[in-house]
């Protein structure tokens, strides 16, 4: 007996299943926007995240100096406290650090580096994870076993240790050629190689489901490359979870970069990320020069918090089970 089944979500609140299908359509239809508009905190988080992205993109227009250009740093202007304090000096709104770097400019440019490292790292890990997940899911057997075993081990190694390892390897391989830009590349690589597992697992799971469906066999019969066909089906299905993982990993990647900086393996002080700024500023905490660490720290915390809030909301919004 065939039933005229129409997905009535609200009508049948206890109905489950169908979580995987047609995510994109459903999301854009309005659920996402609706739950977005309903959550004030998400809207604030999104606004802040957007603001931070804009600040990073337009840093060079907004900053009073380019903190990466040593010629623009004046030692004479070092350790000026924020503008509103007794010793404040224009134009250094948030004060300056030991090198005469304007803290606000350093935050804007550091934001740029942190976001760049984070985003590139996430993109790399996403691409890697999706590729490995597809491979594992499609070929199965020994290939799958190998990839998933590596994933298991990798998952129990914290990213920070992997990143330290990769950093160490890169340092000894590159040695002298390790300038600021290649350090950035190394960080991206380190983060990219540390975070791929979740993507791989998600994609692999989805591939396993899709693999046995008729259309794959049909596609193979008419000579279409099955992986391509599957990619077309798998990706939309997994886009939701992948987006969630990517958002949360972006926050994690930025923190990881900051922690690597703390352990001395992050961005160099001549091109500081937010994490490097905190590490530098941390040395002045006891000295009473709190603004050197406080503002970058605050910026990092707010950025991560906002991204995490967005990630949380995305996860809930895209997971019908949790609504």
């Amino acid at each position: 007996m065939s039933e005229a089944v129409v997905p009535h979500k609200a009508e049948e609140p206890l109905a489950r299943g169908a979580a995987q299908t047609g995510w994109f359509k459903r999301a854009v239809e309005s659920d996402l926007f609706y739950s977005f508009r309903r959550s004030k905190i998400t809207m604030i988080a999104a606004a802040i995240t957007l603001l931070f992205f804009l600040l990073a993109v337009f840093a060079s227009l907004l900053a009073v100096q380019n903190p990466f250009d040593p010629a623009q740093l004046q030692l004479l202007n070092s350790r000026i406290s924020p503008l509103w304090t007794a010793d404040g000096q224009s134009p250094f709104l948030l004060g300056t650090d030991e090198q005469g770097r304007d803290v606000l400019s350093a935050i804007l440019y550091g934001l740029r580096i942190s976001l760049l490292v984070g985003i590139l790292g996430v993109v790399l890990s996403g691409a890697l994870g999706i590729l490995l997940g597809l491979t594992a899911g499609y070929f199965g057997g020994a290939v799958d076993g190998l990839i998933m075993r590596v994933a298991d081990v990798q998952l129990s190694f914290p990213a920070i240790l992997i990143a330290l390892l990769i950093n160490g390897i890169a340092k000894s391989l590159l040695g002298n050629k390790l300038d600021e830009m290649s350090m950035l590349g190394v960080l991206v690589l380190a983060i990219g190689l540390s975070f791929w597992v979740q993507y791989a697992r998600t994609v692999r799971g989805s591939v396993m489901v899709e693999k046995n469906k008729d259309y794959v066999a049909a596609a193979q019969l008419i000579g279409l490359p099955a992986p391509v066909i599957m990619l077309r089906h798998v990706l939309p299905n997994t886009m939701g979870p992948i987006l969630v993982i990517a958002t949360i990993n972006l926050a994690l990647a930025i923190i990881t970069e900051a922690t690597l900086s703390f352990l001395g393996s992050g961005m160099p002080e001549t091109m500081p990320s937010l994490g490097t700024l905190i590490r530098i500023g941390n040395n002045y905490l006891f000295a009473g020069e709190w603004w050197i660490v406080a503002f970058p720290g605050l910026a990092l915390a707010i950025l991560i918090l906002s991204i995490n809030l967005l990630g949380d909301w995305l996860r809930d919004a895209l997971n019908p089970k949790l609504r």
Binding site: R16, M148, R149, D152, V153, L155, S156, F157, P158, I160, L161, L164, L165, G168, I169, K171, S172, L173, R201, G205, A251, L252, I255, A258, T259, F262, L263, G275, I278, N282, L285, F286, G297, L300, A301, I304, L305, N308, L309, D312, K321, L322
Partner: protein, 326 residues
């Protein structure tokens, strides 16, 4: 079951060999240990002699062979800095790290499960929202910053807790413990919180999500339809089913805790393996770095194995079937 365990064990050995290659090749090229051992005005001839006595001039293959053969017997050589067998050093430091990691894990589990269960069952209460906020802050602040802020607050400003070290320790055989002295316990508080906070928020979020998930399952609905008490449903059925994946994750995370201790131990000068590792990295003390990596991998792999096996014991569904779903 036996075949499964055996297969996992073989895989574990494979992993260890891979890690061995990585650790060897990385540390083989990570800087010149000789420079760290001598002063700047040591002559070239003396340096060369030291290089030779360390075997650093042999072909790489020979060095690797020697390395693997020794590692298999838990011989990681002599620390360049301390001139003591690395195995002894690590063993000496291990109790500190394990004690810290265990305390941090207990703290994380207790806090995480309590807060997670509460915020799943009382979803819209103020306290649940407060827990959610704490969990967000826990994953949004870098560990080292939290540690430093704690030191600033509780050691420097209030003077309640020690800022570094383990306090007085008691020797029980080769093991040392800070759990039996007041100063040892006080010294454990801040590092455990710092180390455990991230795990706690992870566990809290996981418990909350799992619990919400479980509360929606048919068997919980059916349990309610059977008229079981709320208590029995929440704590007999929902919590137990929640805890299976949570304990698995927490178990697997224990390896991460040990590795994350690198940061906590650095901040609190905790005399554990992580601090030893950081100092070794700074001093290019290759034997310690290699041994640490191998040791930590061994712990990871062992935990993985144990969790895999435990998982099949805890979850009856998996006892007959050997594959573990992820």
């Amino acid at each position: 079951m036996l075949a499964f365990t055996l297969r996992r064990a073989i895989q574990a050995i494979g992993v260890m060999i891979a890690v061995g290659i990585i650790s060897f090749s990385m540390f083989r090229f990570a800087g010149d240990p000789v420079n760290q051992m001598v002063s700047m005005d040591t002559s070239g001839a003396e340096r060369a002699a030291i290089r030779q006595s360390l075997g650093l001039d042999d072909p790489v293959i020979v060095q690797f062979g020697r390395y693997v053969a020794n590692a298999a017997q838990f011989k990681f050589g002599i620390s360049y800095q301390f001139r003591l067998p690395v195995t002894n050093l690590l063993m000496e430091r291990m109790p500190a790290t394990l004690e810290l990691a265990i305390c941090a894990t207990i703290f994380a589990m207790l806090g995480g499960i309590l807060m997670g269960v509460y915020s799943a069952l009382r979803r819209d209460t103020l306290l649940a929202h407060a827990f959610q906020a704490i969990s967000l802050i826990g994953i949004s602040l870098p560990t080292f910053l939290i540690g430093i802020l704690l030191i600033y607050l509780f050691s420097v400003t209030l003077g309640w807790l020690p800022s570094f070290g383990r306090g007085d320790v008691v020797h029980i055989g080769w093991w040392t413990t800070g759990l039996l002295t007041l100063s040892g316990l006080k010294a454990l508080i801040m590092p455990s919180i710092t180390l455990g906070l991230f795990q706690m928020t992870l566990i809290m979020r996981l418990v909350r999500a799992e619990m919400l998930e479980v509360m929606r399952t048919d068997y919980i609905r059916f349990a309610r339809a059977r008229g079981l008490t709320t208590r029995a449903i929440h704590f007999g059925h929902a919590l137990r089913n929640t805890l299976v994946p949570v304990i698995t994750v927490a178990g697997l995370q224990f390896g991460s805790v040990i590795a994350f201790a690198i940061i906590t131990e650095t901040v609190f000068q905790w005399p554990g393996m992580g601090l030893l590792f950081v100092q070794a990295v700074q001093n290019v003390d290759i034997p310690i770095m290699a041994a640490y990596l191998m040791m930590v991998s061994l712990i990871f792999v062992t935990i993985n194995l144990v969790v895999d096996i435990l998982y099949t014991i805890v979850d009856p569904r998996l006892r007959s079937t050997v594959s573990r779903a992820h």
